[in-house]
């Protein structure tokens, strides 16, 4: 949302950054004396304000309730859960990680200028790992209403070693799909990789992207929740804006 890393400081203090943004800011913080000073100042200004507030008597029995809940949740945590994996996009939810996952998507996308193959692959892999960490953290955290986000491996067509993932995220009032790929063939000028959402037999164009010279790319887009999508697929199209696919399917997954 802001251009300069220094501008994130208020949102850092108010905990309004996604995990990834927060990590990025913390990295910046370690290198920026001005932000360090400002943060310290703000923390000093705010740190003990609550001690100037009037004290309130805690409600009876709160200690027991709070601690019981903490310890009982702990026991549940250690049990192997994660049996329930909803299949349809619709059933998926989990508001927390949306911004975070998207920002990973953006990193991958903007990372496309990196020319070094090893670095690029490492970068993508570490981004994917971060997604997985984020997902498992999400699964660990919120109980009750938030069920986990879903991530699906894309299957590649025969004869290619293309790979990728599709991640669904619930972003407040809408749902977004993040698609990340690697090892795709280089595109000719004008060509794009097109993502399709498929309901029954009917594909509908979703996001499109190009790749860098190591064949990595990705895109994030809002999806229409009214429909019950059955699959996601990626094709190579001679131009953007195709309403029906001309190219062969390169990657796909059932939803």
């Amino acid at each position: 949302m802001n251009d300069k890393p220094c501008d994130h400081i208020l949102d850092y203090i108010n905990d309004q950054l996604s995990d990834i943004e927060r990590k990025q800011f913390e990295k910046h913080l370690s290198e920026c004396p001005r932000c360090q000073e400002e943060l310290k100042e703000m923390e000093d200004l705010m740190g003990d304000l609550p001690t100037y507030m009037e004290q309130t008597e805690p409600p009876a029995g709160m200690k027991q309730r709070v601690l019981d809940e903490v310890f009982s949740n702990e026991e549940e945590d250690t049990a192997p859960v994660r049996t329930k994996r909803p299949v349809k996009w619709k059933a998926w939810s989990g508001v927390l990680a949306a911004g975070l996952l998207l920002s990973i998507g953006m990193n991958v996308y903007t990372g496309l200028e990196v020319s070094d193959l090893a670095t690029e692959n490492e970068q993508l892999e570490s981004s994917l790992t971060e997604i997985q960490t984020a997902l498992s953290e999400l699964e660990d955290s919120e109980s009750g209403t938030a069920s986990p986000l879903q991530q699906t491996e894309l299957a590649s067509a025969e004869g290619t070693n293309a790979a990728g993932t599709a991640t669904l995220l619930n972003r407040e009032t809408r749902q977004e799909l993040l698609v990340q790929t690697q090892n795709l063939e280089n595109l000719e000028p004008g060509e794009v990789y097109q993502v399709w959402l498929i309901e029954g037999e009917t594909p509908e164009p979703a996001g499109a992207f190009t790749t860098n010279d190591t064949g990595s790319g990705g895109v994030a887009f809002t999806i229409n929740e009214e429909k019950s999508w059955d699959a996601v697929a990626i094709t190579k199209e001679p131009q953007t804006g195709n309403q029906t696919p001309q190219g062969e399917i390169i990657l796909q997954a059932g939803l």
């Binding site: 208020l10 200004l45 705010m46 304000l49 001690t51 009037e54 004290q55 200690k63 709070v66 903490v70």
Partner: protein, 189 residues
């Protein structure tokens, strides 16, 4: 035998020592609850915040991880309490979005005023906030008590994004000056 320090307790909590969490709970219950209650203006919601804070502390992941060398432990606990409150405020707000959008400039001030006015006269924070110009009161309300993002504050107050930081800082600084002039009850442990 000397009382264990906060850091001793925290270390033991990391080792999943339930008793240590209980000792820490007793030590901070009143301070944290009072603060959560100021933020939430509702005892049930404040208890939810307490729940969240101690859950995070017990799990010790992400925000529940104290990084030593960055401020006092008690300040950190207050910070996660504040963040847990902000989080809950935001969740609850989702259900009140329509109201929120119609809020006029003065409709959010009562938030702070009422919150502070409800309390007894001796409340230092109340007096200190009231000595500030409206705009500064507002910055404190939106940033500190409602935990809004920079962008939200800019939109709500119709000021450039780039000026929010300076204004918030100035307001907090002025508030601090007033508090220090009066002298505070410093919470020591």
């Amino acid at each position: 035998m000397a009382q264990p320090t906060d850091l001793d307790l925290y270390e033991r909590i990391r080792q999943k020592d339930k008793e240590a969490l209980e000792v820490l709970y007793d030590r901070y219950e009143k301070l944290l609850y009072s603060f959560a209650y100021r933020m939430m203006k509702d005892s049930q919601a404040a208890e939810e915040v307490m729940q969240d804070v101690f859950m995070k502390l017990w799990r010790g992941k992400g925000a529940g991880q104290y990084v030593s060398g960055r401020g006092k432990f008690s300040s950190w606990l207050l910070t996660i309490t504040r963040n847990a409150s902000i989080d809950l405020i935001r969740k609850k707000k989702v259900q009140e979005v329509e109201w929120d959008q119609r809020d006029s400039v003065h409709e959010d001030l009562p938030g702070v005023e009422q919150e502070i006015e409800d309390k007894e006269e001796r409340n230092q924070l109340r007096r200190a906030v009231h000595t500030l110009p409206d705009e500064q009161q507002r910055m404190i309300c939106l940033f500190y008590f409602q935990g809004m993002s920079q962008r939200e504050i800019a939109e709500k107050c119709d000021i450039p994004l780039g000026t929010v930081k300076g204004r918030v800082r100035l307001a907090l600084k002025k508030l601090r000056e007033h508090l220090e002039k009066e002298g505070g009850i410093v919470y020591e442990r």
